[in-house]
């Protein structure tokens, strides 16, 4: 079966955004079961049994992350990372748009497992309508006794605060998110200490992605072992794939992990648009390395894609047809990181500036061979040398594209224009 609907199974039901409809589809049964049948420790074990890995990009096992909280240190905090700003990613927006209560329920289950009394959802400022939807869901859940003191007659109490950001990609990095939530500029902090030990307000803190939390009601309802039976050996469950670029049907599709990328590309995305051919694609989001048509049969499996030199990251797939200029795409992604660099560390702040400057020159056909040769040097001085992953990832796509499409990069040198676009123009005139 190509499609495996778990998180999105009820999407499209009229009024699913409201509490009565969400409850009719089995909503909040997971939370009830968690409070009734599990101690917090047993719930963490259940999530470990499920083998679910974080959906934000790094793929760290969620149960293990939870177990890092030091015992007997309170208060503790839980933050849902809804700062989705990775180029190519729009799944968290979809999850909130369609079923905000699913996220609230997952958040409360995690809050109970971690014995947290304040749970936050940090949502990016641009997702204004989604923030309103979440706030409405939180108020409905509060009125129904799912949020507050003595939830569903238990002795567990938790408040939920929806916190809107204000335009900063860096706040998706967990320590920057915590800085921002504390009311500071969104600059990352040195790790260690990790948030599990010293996070929000200096207290033990867990940061989990929207999609990770949305899985929890299903794990509790059906059991960790059941969940561990879905997907690939080391990538359990389903994922939401944000498909964009030169395809017939862009959008978000949920699929079981371990299925071939080709299935997503051909069956869901409808293949390339306008009958064109695939030149390259980027899995994972704007940070990740480029892959080639020969990689289309790789499984949607975190480790397999990593072995091929890229990553499934936050679940994006951007497809490019044969008219695409990889220098142009690289330039835009580099520009993005230059725009979003927080300025805290020099390798990122200066490096992204040099990268962007060079890529603009190259794209316009004005760079010399000597200048192009500095690209590797610039990136070597950034990758692994920046304060946080933003600076490192600012080099990954452009370096992988330079390696895979070296001729295309070199053909721009001294060309006075973009040779790929010139070729496209000539072809359209001939047609």
């Amino acid at each position: 079966m190509a499609e495996y609907k778990l998180l999105t199974k009820d999407f499209g039901i009229e009024g699913l955004q409201t509490l009565p409809v969400y409850e009719r589809t089995g909503g909040y049964q997971g939370l009830r079961k968690a409070l009734r049948d599990f101690t917090p420790e047993a719930l963490i074990e259940e999530v470990k049994t499920s083998q679910i890995r974080g959906r934000g990009g790094a793929g760290f096992p969620t149960g293990m992350k939870w177990s890092f909280l030091p015992k007997d240190v309170f208060p503790r905090y839980l933050c849902c990372n809804a700062d989705e700003s990775e180029p190519g990613c729009f799944k968290d927006r979809y999850l909130i748009d369609e079923s905000p209560h699913q996220l609230v329920e997952g958040l409360l289950i995690a809050a109970y497992a971690l014995q947290v009394q304040h749970a936050f959802v940090y949502i990016r400022g641009e997702y204004h309508d989604q923030r309103i939807l979440l706030e409405q869901a939180v108020e409905e859940a509060r009125a129904a006794g799912y949020i507050g003191t003595g939830i569903l007659g238990s002795d567990f109490g938790c408040d939920v605060i929806v916190h809107g950001g204000a335009g900063a990609y860096i706040c998706g990095e967990e320590t920057a998110l915590i800085s921002s939530l504390e009311g500071n500029r969104g600059e990352p902090r040195l790790k260690p200490p990790f948030p599990a030990v010293k996070g929000l307000y200096g207290k033990p803190t867990v940061v989990n992605n929207v999609e990770t939390l949305c899985n929890l009601p299903h794990i509790v309802n059906n059991g960790g072992e059941w969940f561990a039976g879905i997907g690939a050996e080391k990538s359990r469950g389903t994922r939401l794939w944000c498909c964009s670029g030169h395809i017939e049907k862009p959008g978000v599709y949920e699929m079981e992990l371990g299925r071939p990328i080709r299935e997503l590309f051909e069956e869901h995305c409808g293949g390339m648009w306008k009958g064109r051919t695939l030149k390259a694609f980027q899995p994972g989001g704007g940070s990740m390395q480029v892959l080639l048509p020969e990689h289309i049969d790789l499984p949607l499996d975190m480790d397999a894609v990593m072995k091929a030199g890229s990553s499934l990251g936050a679940g994006a797939m951007m497809f490019m047809d044969e008219t695409t200029c990889l220098v142009n795409v690289s330039m835009r992604l580099v520009d993005f990181y230059q725009h979003e660099s927080c300025g805290k560390c020099a390798p990122c702040r200066e490096g992204t500036y040099f990268e962007s400057d060079l890529m603009h020159k190259l794209e316009a056909g004005r760079a010399t061979a000597e200048e192009l040769a500095t690209l590797t040097d610039i990136c070597d001085n950034m990758n692994g040398k920046c304060f946080c992953p933003l600076g490192d990832t600012a080099t990954w796509f452009v370096m992988s594209a330079y390696k895979a499409f070296r001729d295309e990069f070199e053909s721009h040198v001294g060309a006075g224009q973009c040779p790929v676009q010139a070729r496209n123009r000539a072809a359209s005139v001939a047609a």
Partner: protein, 185 residues
Amino acid sequence: MTLSAEVRQAIQRHKDRYPHPKSAILPALWEVQHAEAYVSPEGMRLVAEVLGVAASDVQGVATFYSMYFQKPPGRHSLLVCVNAACALRGADETAAYIERKLGTPPGTTTADGAFTWDATIECLGGCGYAPMMQIDHHFHENLTPDKIDHILERVGGEPAPHEGHAAPSTPSAPSGGGKPPKRRR
């Protein structure tokens, strides 16, 4: 302009929600911007006073995040995403079309003060429905010239969000794959 008692009360309510008052700086600045269209010096002073934090902390935050306006924009703010995924589906042409329609380059305000607009490299999360733009917090997606004409005409005649209707007035187009789901509310 004097900030109303309502803004002060709203800031106070945010302060009361958080375990630590400083955490309320971001939502408090949003209250100021929704009332005044930008983060005014007076508004920043009020935030510092109500939350009991240093004025420099408030200003530091207000200047870090790209969505806080440092000076009053036009009645409506418009952003066109030109990041990679949107560019693959014609975002440059969309931005050029909007520039012709508005008659002013990116990063500026139209002569009649209706729109402040920009082409942004920041991904707005509409990659699957490109080309797209955001006007006053709302997404407009799968844009065509006809659609842009229609939207600019409609929105251009509306008052600024902080002076007229309470946001959100129009829900965004549904996100997600293939089949558009039924709408909420």
